[in-house]
Symmetry: C2
Subunit: 472 residues, 2 copies
């Protein structure tokens, strides 16, 4: 394999082929639950270099793990343990190739960090609405490869919806220039959406043209307490009618999730959680003014109070209060970590079925494992829940998880499947959910996916064994 490293060095220069040193950042996953061993890390600086690297690897039968910010949660962007895979980091490709204000598009290279794209766009007077926890580290290429979601999907859609075109290096080392700034293009199969969400298994996304939006005149956040998920659903329906497309986010949190935040981060002053089973965080973006946004919100909450849907509510009075409320929502994961070992699920079901799904899953789990603690929160407006489990108090948490994680997840996923939901709403498949996918996805779908993989990448050069199992 030394010969391959030499070839790669010729392509990208010796400073950009890393080997025999500390490669933690590239070999270990974001949650530090998995670690692989790479032959080397190669850091191409241009699309042409990416193409040459792919070709060089394909020729000698080496496989490549494309990597952006390496913030994925399903082990899809780290090498396996063989020590033979080449990690290809796109992080050097950070050029903003163009901004077109009249077309409301930006074309960026794959290695651009999401937050830096948000900032560039903001400085041009526009909004790039993709927003998620890892935005300070994750890259646009990774966002697209995993079809990232986040907190504004309800209004603006996920990464797929924000993408108009991609530039891709195929497993053969060809460059497909699909960088289109077009809103409409019906000239053949939708290759763009095939690459988006394929987790680096069908091609390497090297650049993308993304949609921009006008900056809203105002953003406003409300926090409301509710008695049940049924009420949350009714409130969501009301909000969609009353706020129209101004409705930007609708997040739900159960009492125990907020209790954990209150317990571990008491300075965050979580409102309303003690007296109510559920709280929701509602966000609107308004293109008129803050006063108009406030009027809309007040109108919504007035009706909601009248109908008995909402027990208590506040509208953020300042930008600081708005950030504080979001900070509570975003601290749930950290509070879970502080509390100790847990089991996480990123699932979706049709929005209408959320209350029934949660009731049935809670009951099934509580029957199998008395005194489990349910941390339930997520993007209710998208039907996407982070249905997580905190182990019973007082037990050996690590052992409990090791012994029971599989059985717990099976109960959750079986119920998801019964409700025609998804076992991975926004995190993807990667390595973590490979077996689950085979179990829960239909054979017809799996065979179509396998046919695509074989047709695009017969030598299994790109990220083998992710999304789909491989013999390699």
């Amino acid at each position: 394999m030394n010969e391959l490293i030499e070839t790669l060095t010729t392509i990208v220069g010796k400073n950009h082929v890393l080997t025999g040193m500390d490669l933690d950042d590239y070999e270990q996953d974001w949650r530090r639950r998995a670690r692989g061993k790479a032959l080397c890390v190669v850091r191409p600086g241009s699309t042409q270099e990416v193409a040459l690297v792919v070709n060089a690897c394909a020729v000698v039968g080496a496989s490549i793990v494309p990597q952006g910010g390496n913030t994925g949660l399903v082990g899809g962007s780290i090498p396996n343990s063989s020590g033979t895979q080449v990690v290809m980091s796109l992080r050097r490709m950070t050029t903003v190739r163009s901004i077109d204000p009249e077309n409301m598009t930006i074309t960026v290279e794959a290695g651009c960090v999401l937050q830096s794209v948000q900032e560039v766009v903001d400085s041009h007077g526009f909004l790039f609405p993709l927003s998620l926890g890892a935005e300070g580290s994750c890259t646009i290429g990774g966002n697209l490869a995993s079809n990232a979601g986040g907190t504004q999907v309800l209004r603006y859609g996920n990464a797929r919806d924000l993408c108009l075109g991609v530039e891709v290096v195929t497993p053969q080392g060809d460059v497909w220039d699909g960088l289109s700034g077009l809103r409409k293009d019906n000239t053949g199969y939708d290759l763009r959406d095939l690459f988006v969400g394929s987790e680096g298994t069908l091609g390497v996304i090297t650049a993308a043209t993304m949609k921009l939006y006008p900056k809203p005149a105002a953003q406003l956040t409300a926090w409301a307490a509710l008695a049940s998920l049924e009420d949350a659903n009714r409130l969501l329906g009301l909000a969609r009618r009353h706020l129209g497309s101004c409705l930007t986010g609708f997040e739900v949190m159960n009492r125990f999730a907020l209790h954990l935040v209150d317990k571990h981060f008491p300075h965050l002053r979580v409102p309303m959680w003690r007296e109510h089973a559920w709280c929701v965080l509602i966000e609107i973006s308004d293109n008129e003014s803050e006063a108009h946004a406030r009027g809309l919100f007040e109108g919504l909450l007035e009706i909601a109070f009248e109908r008995g849907l909402v027990a208590d509510a506040i509208i953020a009075e300042s930008l600081k209060q708005m950030h504080d409320l979001w900070h509570i929502r975003e601290s749930i994961t950290l509070a879970q970590t502080a509390e100790g070992f847990n089991v996480k699920h990123d699932i979706s079901v049709p929005i209408s079925l959320i209350p029934e799904f949660v009731r049935e899953t809670d009951t099934a789990l509580a029957t199998a494992f008395p005194s489990l603690r349910f941390v339930n929160f997520g993007h209710m407006g998208d039907g996407n829940l982070h249905y997580n489990i905190q182990v019973p108090e007082g037990c050996d948490a690590k052992e409990f998880v090791q012994t029971n994680e599989e059985r717990i997840s099976t109960i959750v996923y079986d119920t998801v499947s019964k409700y025609r939901g998804s076992i991975s709403a926004e995190h993807g498949v990667g390595e973590l959910k490979l077996d689950k996918l085979v179990h829960y996805k239909s054979n017809v779908a799996l065979n179509l996916m396998r046919a695509i993989k074989s047709a695009f990448d017969p030598r299994n050069t790109l990220n083998p064994g992710r999304v789909l199992k491989s013999n390699r």
Copy 2:
């Protein structure tokens, strides 16, 4: 082939295998420019019957042309002239399988006529926003197979964007149940979007789950006169900022297009066209009230007047006036037909480049063909123009078109290509643009498309020779 017809009769019943009779509706295209000859027309009544039909044809090597309302404009849904193809009409599959108000989705079978879906959804208090000229005849299956656009794409997206899931019969006769009501699902490759827009060449869409929207409280239309496309672009940018996501449509029409409407349908009373080079039709949907919508519009037009972008404008005072204005826009095509032979193009370019594109194409055409007349109109908000040509006055129109159509289109498409546009924005490829696609699309993209077709349909059972050429 009589054996196949017998088998098909066994599957769907003898009333639903049509042969040896008048098959005009199935064998001739919407614009009556092309006609084929079918072995027979088979009309399955269920997904299971579709699967059996596909299987029966595949086994004996017969090919199938799936057909919905047969309103396509690129000859993709009629049989070729061989007399050996089976036309499979989905029009009997008209069941509305379910409506889920809380999930805001409807699941319908492929043969449902678009307008009937709009009406069912309306009767449940929601909006299904896909809207196009052929909506009284076209079917949801056809809309999805061709990724239909229409007049509300700017706000709600095209057919692809409105679709959450599809049920598909594969070329092997398997049924893929991808009828998902999920907003988020990252479990593998995006098969849905691969079938959507594939024009029946990869699978037969038998049902779909589509997104619904709250009915807007008010819809309002304005008509404005402008001096140039540059001003139209500035007005569009202003409208996007000022109206936010209320902006639903932004249609542009040149003077000659409106002159033709005025000439052939004088009772329509086209406003403002004589004195101004361009008119635009702007539509907004408002979730608050008509008064609020009117206020937004007045605010926008005030700024536009101040900046000198708009020379004259009216806001429709009644529903009738609104329909009248839209009727003018929709009569351009009929006025072109009344005027005589013409050459049509359905193209898109980045919105920012529209003025430059039109100037350059007009000039190139006028140089090559003095006294050509330019009918230019379309969905400017989507970057989609129907850049059409009316032959010079006084010439033998039919002969002129026959002699020069190819050269005219080449000039148009070459310029489209130079501006990184699409030679088929919303109509698709079908048979009509097969050769053009090979010329204007990159080999990398074409090879990826061919790889998908071969992987999904190695026997070339479904709609061979459409989208991609076949040896068959």
